[in-house]
Structures are given as structure tokens and as C-alpha cells.
């Protein structure tokens, strides 16, 4: 598999603050990556470093096979970070023409990309007349002009209204379906969950997890149970090897137990019934990315 970006112990310090701490990961071609982390966790700084706008303190990174200078490699990358930045006095088309000149590519694809993000009818409007959602879509069109090897998006839905968020996500999905590698930084978990195949979780500049989204939690999920006699239920669970970490939630009066094996709900119900416990509530759940994320960031607090 072709590697697009490699980070080796990349570190950035702003005075006493370490924004990115010995971060290492690889981006392979064809996957959709999410960089996940709370606000201020170093996502944007990391992207800033690999995109040549923030100076690294130590460590290194290289694009593709590392034989090219960063700025030349960036001509094959499409990226938007934080807010969309264009010249306010130019029209959408003039702005994209300028990007073509900088990237050294033909301007033949401008209309095609404007159509992809649904801005073709506004191509001759000045950038300053655009709404935030339109600006963001123009930024995506601009990032796609060179048919990039990888598309980097930093908080692409930040500050947008629900409709705008939906539009951007549709566009991202469309692009991902075309086989473009995407690196998406976000603090919104459902965004990453919906779009990404791989995830890198960072907190305070330290990498907590990197790998496939679906392999993130090796556990088999958990069950929520309730019976007339919760004490008997708990002791029955505690004496069984299927469960661990058994807790009673005092608010809902539900017993929560983590499964140690893949157990079917029917088998579990049958087992408890045979022990004389009749359940009034049985739900088997997989933890959502959000819970896993909170779990991960809590453990390392």
C-alpha cells in the first residue's frame, strides 16, 4: 500500500506548552482517516506542521516517499484548515484561477469542481458575498482542483447550520466514494464515525489510539439488565465468567455489566431464568464511538 504521509515523533512547543508531543502515524492511500480530539488537543497544530505553515520543534514528517520538498508535495495535496481563506474582492472563479496558478495546474477543472460543490451558478459572485457554508464549499472545490492524492479537512463543519453540515458531509462522502484519501480532523465524534474508516485519537498532543474505527474497542459490548430483585441479579452476574465490571446505576436502577465473550441476548436470558431471575429489562449494546472516546480520554487523564 502506498504511504502518503509519515510522521515521526513530531513535536511542537509554544513556549512552555507542548501542543503536539512525539506524534507518529502513517496515512495510507485509499483510507478515510479521522483525527479526533477535544478542542485544543493539537489537531490543527499537527496539520499546520505538515502543511508548512507551523514550524515544527523536533521530529520530522515527509510526504509520499520523502523525495520532494514539502511545498512541491503540497501541490498534490488538497487542504483546508480552519476557516476558508480567499481574496474577498475576487469572484469564486477568479479565486480558483489563482489557486490553479499556485498549484501549477490547468484551470480546466474549475467548473467541474464548482458543480461538485453546488456553486456553479455563483461562480461570478465575489467571495465576500458568500455565506459561511458557501465559503466552506468553495474551499473544498479549491482543494480538489488538482485532483489531489489526499484531501485534508480541518473541522469542515465548524460553525455551519444543520443544512450546511449536511451538505458538507454529503460532499465528503461523495469524494470518499471516488477513492480519494481523506484526512478529517474533528472534535465531532459522529462525524468521524459516519465518514472515517480509520481514526487517530489525540489528547493534549499525545496519541491515544490509532487504528480502524471498528477495531477501536475489542470488547463485546455490554448489557443493561433489570429484575425485581437486583441484588440477586448482581450476585448471579458476579458468579459468572461472562461478565465483569458489574455496576448498579442508582438513577435508573439498571444493572450494567461488560461482556467478556460474545453472548447472545437469548442465551443470557435463558441462563438467568434458569437461576430463577426474571428480567424486566434487557438491552445489549455496543459502545458508541463517543463512549469509547470518553473512556479513552478519561483513562489517560
Amino acid at each position: 500500500m502506498k504511504t502518503i504521509l509519515t510522521l515521526n515523533n513530531l513535536t511542537k512547543r509554544f513556549g512552555p506548552l507542548t501542543a503536539v508531543d512525539n506524534l507518529s502515524f502513517k496515512i495510507e492511500k485509499g483510507n478515510v482517516y479521522g483525527i479526533l480530539g477535544p478542542n485544543g488537543s493539537g489537531k490543527s497544530t499537527t496539520l499546520g506542521m505538515v502543511l508548512n505553515v507551523v514550524n515544527k520543534t523536533s521530529g520530522d514528517f515527509f510526504w509520499f516517499d520523502g523525495n520532494e520538498s514539502t511545498h512541491n508535495a503540497l501541490k498534490k495535496v488538497g487542504a483546508i484548515i480552519e476557516r476558508p481563506n480567499f481574496y474577498p474582492y475576487m469572484t469564486a472563479k477568479q479565486n480558483l484561477n489563482l489557486v490553479c496558478k499556485i498549484k501549477n495546474v490547468k484551470n480546466a477543472k474549475i467548473e467541474e469542481k464548482l458543480a461538485l460543490v453546488g456553486l456553479l451558478d455563483r461562480k461570478n459572485s465575489k467571495f465576500r458575498t458568500f455565506s459561511l457554508g458557501m465559503k466552506q464549499r468553495l474551499a473544498i472545490a479549491s482543494a480538489l482542483l488538482n485532483d489531489p492524492e489526499i484531501l485534508i479537512l480541518d473541522e469542515p463543519t465548524n460553525g455551519l447550520d444543520p443544512q450546511g453540515i449536511h451538505q458538507i458531509r454529503e460532499i465528503i462522502r461523495k469524494i470518499a466514494a471516488m477513492g480519494t484519501t481523506i484526512l478529517l480532523a474533528s472534535h465531532l465524534l459522529d462525524e468521524v464515525e459516519k465518514v472515517c474508516s480509520h481514526v487517530i485519537i489525540i489528547r493534549k498532543g499525545v496519541k491515544l489510539y490509532s487504528g480502524r474505527v471498528d477495531e477501536m474497542n475489542a470488547s463485546h459490548g455490554y448489557v443493561e439488565l433489570k429484575a425485581e430483585n437486583n441484588d440477586a441479579l448482581i450476585s448471579a452476574l458476579e458468579n459468572h465468567t461472562w461478565f465483569e465490571n458489574i455496576k448498579l446505576d442508582p438513577e435508573t436502577n439498571l444493572v450494567k455489566a461488560i461482556l467478556t465473550k460474545p453472548i447472545e441476548a437469548e442465551n443470557l436470558n435463558k441462563m438467568l431464568f434458569e437461576k430463577g431471575i426474571i428480567l424486566s429489562h434487557l438491552v445489549k449494546r455496543k459502545e458508541s464511538l463517543e463512549q469509547q472516546f470518553l473512556e479513552l480520554t478519561k483513562q489517560n487523564a
Binding site: 502543511l51 505553515v53 474582492y89
Partner: protein, 278 residues
């Protein structure tokens, strides 16, 4: 180089303020020339500026370059804002992300400075040539094309000054503040020169030997004031029995000093940009 110029001119050509300022700049050039050639009739007194010998070759090269250089402030605004707008629009960041190197970015700006300076010089050359051909008392080929070093001095002066503006634009990041800084720097230099001249050294020649290395002073030295060279003023001075002896010539070392400042400003802009996190 052409690619970088092409990029920068794409940015400039759609900007209304750039267009307006450039038109004012080149418009004023021509207007001043026209104004000088108008014949005034004040209280029956026939007066024409052109008759005072200001458009005589080769003096016109000196006179026009000196007065035209006051107009450079209009282009200075263009230069400063083309730097600082990249910060305020955050387009500098986007340019770098799109695959421009920091060096290319500075070079594209510096090439633009060169082009503006060359065009201004060509413009003043043509305006002076036309005015001279109309009004000059001497139109011999050898006289017309003497003293042309003022053209070179003017070119170097503009390049130096605009590089200074470019550096300030990067340093201060806001166009209004950068222009303010330029003004404050000019006052600062004048005060320092004044103190050196009257308080510390007390001798104008020795002071000049030091102050010629100041950035703005070195640029001002390239084309010195031409008024005292006028026949009218000279004869008036003779009647008052005072001699005005000034060194009007353009010296090679003065050109060198300004070129050194230019190099420092361009290099400083690049260093500043490389050091900064955007």
C-alpha cells in the same frame, strides 16, 4: 519568475484599491508635467514654470526624478497593503498550503516591487523626455542623454523604498500601522540626524558621513534636492554674496548602500516569514 509575477498580478489586478492608487500615481505624474507647462497669467504677469529652466536638459533628469519621488507614497500604500492583506485575509496561509514556498512568496512580492520601480522609471523617463523636447533650450543629442545617472539613482531609490515598505508590511501585518510605522521611522531618523548634527558631532560633513547609512537618509541621498541648482536661485545667492555649493552628483557608494538595505529588507522579510507560525 514569470509564474510568480503572474500569481502576484492576478492578486493585484482585481483589487479596486490597487487600481485606484496606481491610476492616481501615474495620473499625477502626467498632471504635474502638464501643470508645469501651463502659462499662468497672474495680474498681467506672464509666468510659466517651464521658462525658469527646469525643463532644460540635462537638468530635467534631476528635477523630475526628485519631485516624482514624492509620489512614491501612493505606490507604497499599494505595496504595504499587498503584504499586510495577505495576513488579514489569511490568504498567506492558504497560499502556503496550496504549495507555494515561503521563499516563492517573498520573491513574488519582490519581483512586483522591481516591476513597479522599473515601470515608474520608464514612465518618468518618457515624461521627462517629452517635456524636455518641448521646453528645453538645448536639444542636442549629447546633452539630452547626459546626466542619465539620475534615472538609475531613481530606480534604485524606488526599489529600496518599496522593499522597506514590503518588510514593514510583513513585520507589522496591518497596512495602516505599517504606514504609520514608516512615518514614525522617518521622524525618528530626522531626530537622530538632528541630534547627531547639533548635539554630538556638530559638523554637517561628519554627520552626513554617518547618517548616509540610515535607510531613509540613504535613499534621500540618491537624488538630492535640485532647487539650489536652478539658475534663478544661483543668481539670487550670488547677489546675496553667499555661495551655495552642494554636491548633487550620484555616487556609486550611495547606490551600494541602498542596494545593501534592499538586500537586508528582502532577506529580513524571508527570515521573519520563516520564523513565524501562521
Amino acid at each position: 519568475m514569470l509564474r510568480l509575477l503572474n500569481i502576484e498580478f492576478h492578486k493585484l489586478k482585481y483589487s479596486r484599491s490597487t487600481k485606484v492608487l496606481s491610476i492616481i500615481y501615474f495620473g499625477l505624474f502626467t498632471l504635474i508635467a502638464l501643470f508645469a507647462s501651463i502659462r499662468f497669467n497672474i495680474l498681467g504677469l506672464d509666468f510659466q514654470l517651464a521658462d525658469q529652466g527646469i525643463f532644460n536638459f540635462p537638468y530635467i533628469w534631476h528635477f523630475n526624478t526628485y519631485f516624482a519621488s514624492y509620489l512614491k507614497i501612493f505606490l507604497a500604500i499599494v505595496i504595504v497593503s499587498m503584504m499586510s492583506n495577505e495576513y488579514s485575509n489569511r490568504t498567506l496561509k492558504q497560499n502556503l498550503i496550496d504549495g507555494m514556498s515561503k521563499k516563492e512568496f517573498i520573491l513574488s512580492k519582490f519581483y512586483t516591487v522591481l516591476v513597479f520601480s522599473v515601470i515608474s522609471t520608464l514612465f518618468i523617463f518618457i515624461v521627462s523626455l517629452v517635456l524636455g523636447l518641448i521646453f528645453s533650450d538645448y536639444t542636442e543629442f549629447s546633452i539630452i542623454f547626459s546626466d542619465l545617472e539620475f534615472m538609475l539613482a531613481y530606480l534604485v531609490k524606488l526599489i529600496g523604498f518599496f522593499s522597506f515598505c514590503m518588510f514593514l508590511g510583513i513585520l507589522v501585518k496591518r497596512s495602516a500601522f505599517a504606514l504609520g510605522f514608516l512615518f514614525v521611522w522617518w521622524i525618528f531618523e530626522s531626530i537622530v540626524i538632528g541630534i547627531l548634527r547639533f548635539q554630538i558631532i556638530g559638523d554637517s560633513a561628519k554627520t552626513a558621513a554617518i547618517t548616509q547609512f540610515f535607510p531613509l537618509e540613504s535613499m534621500a541621498n540618491l537624488v538630492k534636492q535640485p532647487i539650489t541648482r536652478l539658475n534663478v536661485v544661483q543668481s539670487a545667492a550670488n547677489q546675496l554674496q553667499t555661495d551655495i555649493i552642494s554636491d548633487y552628483a550620484v555616487h556609486w557608494y550611495q547606490i551600494l548602500i541602498v542596494l545593501a538595505w534592499t538586500a537586508i529588507f528582502v532577506w529580513g522579510s524571508l527570515k521573519l516569514l520563516k520564523k513565524r507560525d501562521l
